[in-house]
C-alpha cells in the first residue's frame, strides 16, 4: 500500500527525495479521510516552502485540509493538471496526483519523517485512539 521508497509525515504527506530535490503529495489515508476531492490549491513555481508550514489546500465536498510541506526549499514544478482533475488525488494519490517538486535548500529531514512501515504503524495507532 505505502511505497517503501517514500517517507511520510504525521500530517499525511508523502515525500520522495532524490539528491537535492523532492516530490510531495498526500497519502492514500489522507485522500480516504477527505473523500471526493473537488478543489486543490497548490503553491506557485518559485515559491519558498518550509518544512511543517502550510503550502496549499485540498478540499473535498465536506472538508478543507491544508497541505503541510514536509521539506524546505523552492518549488520547481507543480502538478497543474490537478486543478482540472482533482479526482486523481482519490484515484492515484501516490502516483499521478503528486503535487509539487521542491529543490531542497537543506537536506530532506528524513530522520523526522516516517518510513512506510512506521507510517502504517502510526495509522494503526491513530485509528485506535
Amino acid at each position: 500500500m505505502y511505497p517503501a521508497q517514500f517517507r511520510y509525515s504525521e500530517e499525511h504527506e508523502w515525500v520522495q527525495a532524490e539528491d537535492n530535490s523532492a516530490t510531495v503529495g498526500i497519502t492514500d489515508h489522507a485522500q480516504k479521510e477527505l473523500g471526493d476531492v473537488v478543489f486543490v490549491e497548490l503553491p506557485k513555481v518559485g515559491d519558498k516552502v518550509e518544512a511543517g508550514q502550510a503550502c496549499g489546500t485540498v478540499e473535498s465536498v465536506k472538508a478543507v485540509s491544508e497541505i503541510y510541506s514536509p521539506v524546505s526549499g523552492e518549488v520547481k514544478e507543480v502538478n497543474t493538471a490537478l486543478a482540472e482533475t482533482p479526482e486523481w488525488i482519490n484515484q492515484d494519490p501516490h502516483g499521478k496526483a503528486w503535487m509539487m517538486k521542491v529543490s531542497l535548500s537543506a537536506p530532506a529531514p528524513l530522520d523526522r519523517l516516517m518510513t512506510a512501515e512506521q507510517y502504517e504503524e502510526y495509522l494503526r495507532k491513530e485509528s485506535a485512539e
Partner: protein
C-alpha cells in the same frame, strides 16, 4: 494535510446506530447525535438520490404530538403558516416563531385528524421546541414529545416510489406531494408521507423503532435493482442546499424572520395574529433590511459556512451555508445580504483564506427536479 472531520464521541443514538456501524458508515456528531456522515461517499450518495434512490436514517428528527380542542388554536398562535388550511393527511412546512418573529425552529405540521397534529422538528431543537410549545399552551392542548416512539426513514430519489412500492400495499402513486397516509410498510403499521429534504421526489416513513433494522435492510434489498444507496448527513446537506432548502442554526435561527429568510410563502399574516406577527407585518410593509440569497462562485474556490461576504471593499454579510455540490458541479451557497445587494446578478466577493474570489447572487433553488 490534517484531518478535519469531527469524530463522534458519546452522544445520542438512533435505533439504527449499530446497523450504521456494522455497514461501515463514517460517523459524525450532529446536533448531539451520533449519525452517519457518509457510507460510500457524499458524491455517489448525492448522485444516487438525484438519479435513482437513496435511503437515510433521519430518526434524530423529533416528533411532537399536539392534540385536543386547543390544538389548532395553539398551532395558529405559535406557527407562521396557516394550519387551518390543512386537510386530514396533509403536511405543511412552517416556522415555530418566537415573540420577535424569529425561528425557534422550522418544522413540518402533519394534520392526522381534527384536533390531532404531529409535528416533525429538528434534532437539535426538539427539547427547546417542546419547552416553548408547552409554555405557549394556554389553549389547553395536550402536547407530548413522542420523538422516542419513532424511527424515521427517508427514501428519496426519482425511483423511490418503485422501491417502496414493493414493500407496501399503500397506493403511493395516489399520494400527492406533501400528503401522507397510514399503512403497512414491510408489514409494520407506519405513517408514509410524500415529503423530503432533498428537492427530489421521495417518502418519509415513520415507524416503531423496534422494527428499524429489518425495515432498513428490506428497503435496501428491495432497491438493489434501482441501485439504491444508504446515505448519510453529508449528502443530505448537499442535496438540500442544491434544492435551496434552509438548515436550522445556519440559514435560519432565533434572530432571523421568515421574510428575511426568503420564506414569505410560509408567513401567513392574513390568518390573524400569531407570535411575532406584528414584527413580520412591519417588515412586510417597510421591507426587510437584509435577505437570504443564493450565490454561486464565478471564480475558483469553495465558499464555506461563516465565510465573510464583501461588496467591493465593504464586508456586508456572511455565508450561512456553502459547499461544492456534486450534481450541479458548482460551488454554491446561501448568505444574508443587505437588501440593496440581494438581487440576482449582484457581484459579491467571498473571503476564503485571505483571498476574495468573485461570486454572483442567483435565484434559488439552484436545482429543480425535472418535470415528469
Amino acid at each position: 494535510m490534517a484531518n478535519t472531520p469531527a469524530q463522534s464521541a458519546a452522544s445520542r443514538k438512533t435505533a439504527l446506530n449499530s446497523m450504521h456501524r456494522k455497514m461501515g458508515a463514517r460517523m459524525v456528531e450532529f446536533g448531539g447525535w451520533d449519525m452517519p456522515l457518509e457510507y460510500s461517499g457524499i458524491v455517489p450518495e448525492h448522485m444516487a438520490v438525484r438519479t435513482r434512490a437513496g435511503l437515510f436514517d433521519v430518526s434524530h428528527m423529533g416528533e411532537i404530538e399536539v392534540e385536543g380542542k386547543g390544538a389548532l388554536p395553539l398551532l395558529q398562535k405559535i406557527t407562521c403558516n396557516d394550519a387551518s388550511r390543512l386537510q386530514d393527511n396533509q403536511a405543511q412546512y412552517s416556522g415555530l416563531m418566537n415573540s420577535q418573529g424569529g425561528f425557534v425552529d422550522d418544522l413540518l405540521v402533519h394534520k392526522i385528524a381534527d384536533h390531532r397534529y404531529l409535528l416533525c422538528v429538528n434534532a437539535s431543537r426538539r427539547e427547546a421546541d417542546f419547552g416553548w410549545i408547552t409554555k405557549q399552551n394556554d389553549a389547553g392542548a395536550r402536547v407530548r414529545n413522542v420523538s422516542d416512539d419513532y424511527t424515521q426513514l427517508a427514501v428519496q430519489g426519482p425511483r423511490s416510489k418503485d422501491v417502496l412500492e414493493r414493500l407496501t400495499a399503500v397506493d403511493l402513486g395516489a399520494l400527492k406531494y406533501y400528503w401522507f397516509t397510514h399503512g403497512k410498510v414491510c408489514g409494520i403499521e407506519s405513517l408514509v408521507a410524500r415529503t423530503g429534504y432533498t428537492g427530489e421526489d421521495g417518502f418519509e416513513v415513520y415507524l416503531p423503532p423496534s422494527e428499524s433494522e429489518r425495515v432498513w435492510s428490506e428497503i435496501l434489498e428491495a432497491g438493489k435493482e434501482e441501485g439504491i444507496l444508504p446515505c448519510g448527513l453529508g449528502a443530505r446537506n448537499t442535496l438540500r442546499l442544491e434544492a435551496g432548502m434552509h438548515l436550522y442554526g445556519h440559514d435560519i435561527d432565533e434572530e432571523t424572520t421568515p421574510l428575511e429568510a426568503n420564506l414569505k410563502w410560509i408567513s401567513k399574516l392574513e390568518k390573524g395574529p400569531f407570535l411575532g406577527s406584528e414584527v413580520l407585518a412591519r417588515q412586510a410593509q417597510e421591507g426587510v433590511k437584509r435577505r437570504l440569497v443564493g450565490f454561486q462562485m464565478t471564480d475558483r474556490g469553495i465558499a464555506r459556512d461563516e465565510a465573510p461576504v464583501w461588496v467591493e471593499d465593504r464586508q456586508v454579510g456572511k455565508v450561512t451555508s456553502g459547499s461544492y455540490t456534486p450534481y450541479l458541479k458548482r460551488s454554491i451557497g446561501l448568505a444574508y445580504l443587505p437588501s440593496e445587494f440581494a438581487s440576482p446578478g449582484q457581484r459579491i466577493l467571498i473571503e476564503i483564506r485571505g483571498n476574495r474570489p468573485a461570486a454572483e447572487v442567483v435565484s434559488t433553488p439552484f436545482y429543480r427536479k425535472p418535470k415528469n
